[in-house]
């Protein structure tokens, strides 16, 4: 869930509670206020009626609510003297002239007692009051409107504020997302005055600079280690070569020496591959020029012809279009050569096939081989080996991937129709 939606969700729920509580408080306050007002009115009435009754005793004979909003009953002296004014909620039944049935309306009633000419009377005055249900209804509708209005306002404000305040954050995030160790020179940076974002940026950069340092050290270590190994390895293999050449060995010893030499040569290949990888990753190939992939394939293919003939592999090479790419010719050669060698060497022992297709933006190499898919997530990893075969350094595909990464070529592997597909999109 996006931060924007999250915050809107939380704010909406809180506002709902706030508006609800506010509505209840407002309602009770309102009712209280209205009652006070009505009661004040009743008090005034009372005074008026008592005053009028003093002057016009005919009033005292009115008994019922039928004629007016008040009733007067004579009472005994005793209860009258201890009487205190009472306000209470009640209902009145009112029937208009054109109405059949009487309406029941809420009302406030004041019950009091007074003395007139030595006689005691009980006076009840009624005043219609606002309908609570109406009030609640109104209030609720208003509250819903208010709530809706607030939420909409908050969504709009939130959108604007978030977009403005959080803009540096999203920019930073985007830059971190696209950041690749070793391939970007500059750390992600955005200009902002928000302290938290500056802190975040600082923390990210510290982390990245540490990672870059470790990455560089590792790269340098691989480079240096491979480099330092070159000369001793050269001496080792050359010595063995000379030893074998001398010839006065028995077969058993010679075989052991030959095995040792094979191992040493494998080491040399691993070493050379690591050096090449380091160089590619260090961007030490800078001679960029338009290279025709078609020509490179044409040039590399004959080198593999002998192997193809020997292993009875049929080759098909279809050129649908001319494919050129701005890149280092040496790397283009290594890329194509490794791809082709991969297709030929990992083929079936007998009657295999290699199909190469070049279209406008695509180099597609299909080869028969082991009847099972390779692990597409791992094949480009260093030293990945499928099965138990150990003749290969396990760096060929890594080199291919490194070159592709360097030039932004996408490479995908697929196992389809019992064939291994490598697709490069330039």
């Amino acid at each position: 869930m996006k931060l924007l939606n999250q915050s809107i969700k939380h704010i909406s729920i809180s506002i709902l509670a706030v508006v609800g509580i506010w509505g209840a408080v407002f309602y009770y306050n309102m009712i209280e206020e209205i009652k006070e007002n009505v009661d004040d009115g009743l008090e005034n009435y009372k005074r008026q009626i008592i005053y009028k009754a003093n002057r016009d005793t005919a009033l005292l004979s009115r008994v019922d609510f039928d004629e007016a909003f008040y009733s007067i009953h004579p009472i005994d002296k005793q209860p009258a003297l201890t009487f205190t004014d009472q306000y209470k909620d009640t209902v009145v039944h009112i029937r208009g002239i054109d109405e059949v049935y009487a309406r029941t309306d809420p009302a406030r009633m004041l019950t009091t007692a007074f003395e007139d000419g030595g006689k005691y009377y009980e006076l009840k005055i009624i005043n219609p009051m606002i309908e609570k249900n109406d009030l609640i209804h109104r209030l609720l509708i208003n509250m819903i409107w208010l709530y809706a209005f607030l939420v909409i306002a908050i969504i709009i404000i939130n959108n604007i504020v978030l977009q403005r305040l959080w803009k540096p954050f999203y920019q930073l995030l985007q830059k971190i997302k696209t950041y690749r160790l070793g391939s970007n020179e500059n750390f992600p940076e955005v200009k902002t005055r928000t302290r938290e974002f500056n802190d975040l940026q600082k923390a990210v950069n510290t982390l990245l600079s540490h990672s870059t340092q470790v990455y560089d050290q590792q790269k340098q270590f691989i480079g240096n280690a491979s480099h330092e190994l070159q000369t001793p390895l050269a001496i080792m293999v050359n010595k063995l070569e000379l030893l074998l050449e001398k010839g006065n060995l028995n077969d058993e010893d010679a075989e052991k020496i030959a095995e040792t030499m094979n191992m040493a040569e494998r080491l040399i290949r691993v070493n050379k591959s690591l050096l090449l990888l380091t160089k590619i990753e260090n961007k030490q190939f800078l001679d960029e020029q338009p290279v025709s992939v078609n020509r490179v394939v044409e040039q590399r293919l004959p080198d593999l012809k002998d192997i193809a003939d020997f292993r009875k592999i049929t080759i098909s090479f279809v050129q649908e279009a001319e494919l050129t790419k701005e890149m280092d010719p040496a790397l283009a050669e290594i890329l194509v050569s490794n791809l082709l060698r991969n297709a030929f060497f990992h083929n079936t022992p007998k009657a295999g096939a290699v199909n190469i297709t070049i279209s406008e933006k695509k180099l597609h190499i299909i080869n028969t081989g082991k009847d099972m898919p390779l692990d597409a997530d791992k094949i480009f990893d260093r030293f990945y080996k499928s099965g138990s075969g150990n003749e290969h350094t396990g760096l060929g595909l890594t080199i291919i991937k490194a070159i592709c990464d360097l030039y932004g070529i996408s490479i995908t592997y697929q196992y389809k129709d019992r064939c291994h597909h490598f697709t490069l999109i330039f």
Partner: protein, 225 residues
Amino acid sequence: MKLLIIEDEKELAGLLAESLAREQFVVESAGDFDTAMEKLGVYNYDCILLDIGLPDGNGLDILRQLKEEGKSENVIIISARDSLDDKLAGLDLGADDYLTKPFHIAELNARVKAVLRRKETDGKHLLEFGNLTLDLKERQAFVKDNNLQLNRKEFDILNYFLLNKTRLVTKTALAEHVWGDNIDQADNFDFIYYQMKNLRKKLRDNDAGIEIESVYGVGYRSIEK
């Protein structure tokens, strides 16, 4: 023929000297910059193997000096650094070739002989061994006057063996030389065996005075019958 090896790694210098001596060359070694300059000042060499990473100086400076004296064309640079810049700088200064460590002895022999051949008077582009003659210009192989009808790869293989007469040529060295630099792939050189079988048959059928024998399964050697 007199060769100078300028290489600070004593073990390697000793090995190269031992191997080149088997080719009947007179070999001298210099282990540092000063010794090298001293020797170059006194003697003339037909071929110089130059390591450009010397502890007390840059091999390229030696090359520069040689270029001033017009003697840089018989230099083969040997370097542990497979760097394009070094290569270009070296070749710009007139070096004949650039060999990256580690290399095979057979490859070194081939390169040294190429340098020496280029020094010799023009017109000689023939390699001979027994009754076999290779015309490098026309890319033809003859036993006496009989053309062997070799294909491109077979000619390259035979050429390589003639540059390494009686010497061990390992399968790896052969594969790298003839089929290109294979940085990753396969100890599986079965196809070389297949090629060699064809070549040997052609040599036998044409009564060539040489044959190519297998050496302990790691490589081959050309010998005179």
